[in-house]
Symmetry: C2
Subunit: 508 residues, 2 copies
């Protein structure tokens, strides 16, 4: 656009937004420059804060008229650069569309606006004994619109599935300005799974303006066990034994020695400091069922060679067991100046192999890697530690992150479990999909967004669209406490120990 066109666009945009709901001032725009990954940064032309669907429609139509790209976002906790602005484009921040429109305990569903914070749904449903199951670690701050766009997971997704398994329907303002309503109020829907198509689309089909989610009955009972092992592979074997015993825990999480060290330094979770790995297993469900499963679980755990076993006797103890795990990402900031969170998937049966390869790769790159992972579904979150004062080290960390993803692909896994492709992983997409399938994905995208204005430059490695700037040497998780809440890593929420607070795509 010429300067004149840009001014005309901004003037027209300004007519859609009352004072205080549109930002163009650089100081205000700064808070929207990056997502939770912080590696990629870009400054938008403007940020708008709509409060109604009609405003979103008008905004998207205006963008189309002027050919201006747009990125919709919530709290910006995504971890793949997916909600980073497009230079020359605008950001549609949905945080003010944060109403719970309907909560139906009988049919166990909630209809919410995209800016509703994940945990707010469970809080609103609590009086009816219901809750919303997907629980990204950032759930106190990440929004449901971001969860939908990245198909967010969480520790309890082993039993309950990802966001896609809990979204019944949605309203979406397509990039063409039309609003469509897909899905409904039941999982039995006529025709192809359109809600599934929008879930995980990383904002490239349009702007989600309403979501209908399933609510589940709050489990009557919960049992949480922590087991410590001398070596990481023993914790992995214990996971295999739990699965082989026919148990389906709500969560099975593993942390290695370095992750334990970080968690102890950060939050003093009380994990055994000499352990090579800890495994957290949680069962939930009706009391009788949980107690029956718990007896079986303990037999399996006791036979797996642990050096220590801790049981949560009450909710306070349970929260303490989870505290280290839930704060692991930010905790590594206490033992390293910079860090990168990777997100890859391997078949569960190849977990041991994957961990051995990560260890070898880390040694070859001369860097430390802390492993924290959803062991039940093979979703790894290696945390690569480095000194962010040295550009050479930053580059080496990025190489290691890429090598780990290559290893996941070679082992028959996926380049992302829950953080999405975003900017970070688009170059790996051709490793996951053959040219015909990639072409099909592009064609589907153009069906929704013929002009490629919705979050362009993400996901697809070679999609035409504005390039996105990378900060020179900003691949860091340093001094998270000094970052503004809307642009840094998830922060430990002082009001809710053990729960991550921080800005909202929602992972892991």
């Amino acid at each position: 656009m010429t300067q004149g066109q840009t001014e005309a666009f901004l003037a027209a945009l300004g007519r859609l937004y009352p004072p205080g709901s549109m930002h163009t001032d650089p100081a205000q725009l700064a808070a929207y420059e990056c997502d939770g990954l912080t590696v990629f940064r870009a400054r938008p032309l403007a940020v708008v804060l709509p409060t109604a669907r009609e405003q979103v429609e008008a905004t998207v139509r205006l963008c189309r008229q002027f050919g201006v790209p747009f990125v919709a976002r919530g709290s910006g906790t995504s971890l793949s650069g997916g909600s980073v602005p497009v230079p020359g484009g605008i950001v549609i921040a949905l945080n003010r569309m944060n109403r719970i429109l309907r909560l139906d305990p009988g049919d166990r569903l909630a209809v919410v606006e995209p800016g509703v914070v994940n945990l707010q749904i469970s809080r609103a449903a609590a009086p009816y004994g219901l809750y919303y199951a997907p629980d990204p670690s950032s759930q106190v701050i990440c929004t449901i619109g971001g969860n939908v766009s990245f198909n967010s997971g969480g520790a309890h997704c082993l039993k309950y599935g990802m966001t896609a398994n809990h979204v019944l329907g949605m309203k979406v303002v397509l990039a063409t300005g039309e609003t469509v309503e897909v899905g409904g109020t039941s999982l039995d829907v006529a025709g192809p799974d359109l809600p599934g198509l929008f879930t995980g689309a990383e904002g490239q089909f349009g702007v989600v303006v309403e979501v209908t989610v399933r609510l589940l009955p709050r489990p009557e009972a919960v049992r949480t066990v922590l087991a410590a092992y001398p070596r990481l592979d023993q914790a992995g074997d214990a996971v295999s034994a739990v699965v082989a015993a026919g148990l389906l825990p709500a969560a099975m999480e593993i942390m290695d020695r370095l992750a334990i060290e970080a968690a102890e330094a950060a939050v003093g979770a009380g994990y055994p400091r000499d352990a090579g790995a800890v495994l957290i297993v949680e069962l939930d469900g009706p009391t009788d069922e949980v107690e029956a499963d718990f007896r079986r679980l303990m037999e399996v755990i006791e036979a797996s060679g642990p050096t220590a076993i801790r049981l949560a006797r009450d909710e306070a103890e349970r929260l303490r067991l989870w505290k280290g795990r839930k704060s692991a990402f930010s905790a590594v900031g206490h033992i390293s100046l910079g860090y990168l969170v990777q997100d890859g998937v391997v078949p569960r049966t190849r977990l041991g192999e994957a961990l051995a390869r990560i260890e070898a790769l880390a040694a070859r790159h001369g860097l430390r890697v802390a492993n924290v992972f959803h062991a039940g579904d093979g979703n790894l979150h290696p945390l690569i530690l480095f000194d962010d004062r040295s550009p050479e080290t930053v580059e080496r960390a990025e190489e290691l992150a890429a090598a780990i993803i290559e290893a996941c692909i070679e082992l028959g896994g996926s380049i992302t479990g829950e953080h999405g492709v975003g900017l970070e992983k688009r170059r790996f997409l051709p490793r996951m999909f053959d040219p015909a399938t990639l072409d099909l994905m592009r064609r589907i995208r153009r069906t929704f967004d013929p002009d490629q204005l919705a979050n362009p430059g993400k996901v697809f490695p070679d999609e035409p669209g504005p390039a996105v700037a990378t900060a020179p040497a900003a691949a860091t998780g340093t001094t998270p406490a000094a970052r503004p809440a809307a642009a840094g890593h998830p922060l430990p929420d002082p009001a809710r120990p053990g729960v991550l607070a921080g800005p909202g795509g929602g992972a892991p």
Copy 2:
């Protein structure tokens, strides 16, 4: 096409298929004229029986070159007219692509060709203690390709979900002749849910040539209870009470008085003949868990006012309890000359209301309706009984079927739970989706199939494409035993009492 073009097309097609793998003889084509619904009939130009993906690709490319529509099908058990041929088009029958390509007990998955029969997967997985969960009543004959295309359900989908929840990936020959590979070997896949988009697409995007499905550990224990009640609403209340108690049975099925009468006349299942309704509840899982849940279930059932309770003490008794339910569709042939199976969904909380409306509508139309339904998820299967010798009665039955679907829509439900839209329900599609959403669905379809050659005339009410002939007064389920197995209703399989055999989309 001109006569000459048709001849050129058939000659070129013949060069792709060795003798015995292409039919053009009217007597052979007759077996492919209709699906399990039997209302809609059409004769194809030819039927081809490929054995390899390359043949499917060449066939689809040839169809595109000549502008010939094609319908892919398996055993043809679909119940909405979805696999009925398009006049002037060909049928690609996938029954000979029936190999299990890989069975991986460690990663719990199977890679199969589309013509593999549903139950064959579980049989192949049985030595490893695994099985494939979705269980349409037609599972001894319906094929996995049809299950995928209609997102088939089954009695146990209450706990385990529909086909879409068990498909990890697939290879599809698009209507353009390209082959794409979507999904993978894990539920964590990068980007939008493309396998979900193909699951339920009713063959309109292309031909599924390979499917990767999840396998589950066979439940260690199963408990099956049948409770009889004086009235249907009492059975419905019992279902609500089971749900309120926090139990998640594998299946909860209800049959009303007329359905019981039919089942008794057909298979002598031994249900209490004086009951107004029977409820079958099945629990499965680890032994301890099932026993704990069973005690709780029995408390709920005993408090729900049943006149009789029957427990299955062994597998033989369990199969007997299921026998009446599983054969219910064909059983009504024993008490009525003709019948129509309807398939609608209502929110579970409005089941009672829906049943009362069906009763009133049946009375108004002067017809009897037998109700058989998946009570746990609100999926109704009213069986409309009529005298097929009278065209007027046939028409009235179709009107009643339509009125029942209207009622489901008004109650906030869906026009299909698992049988698909096909030909039967395409006129209701605009009642489910607004014009913008319908237009989006059409655009997505054209992305995969720009010339609209893949199963045209189905799903969309006004899609250009060859019209499909309706038999003058053939809306019947009469004398099923006299029908060729590939073109009638699911038949009771004499070799497997209590299990439906019959031709393969797979429902309910």
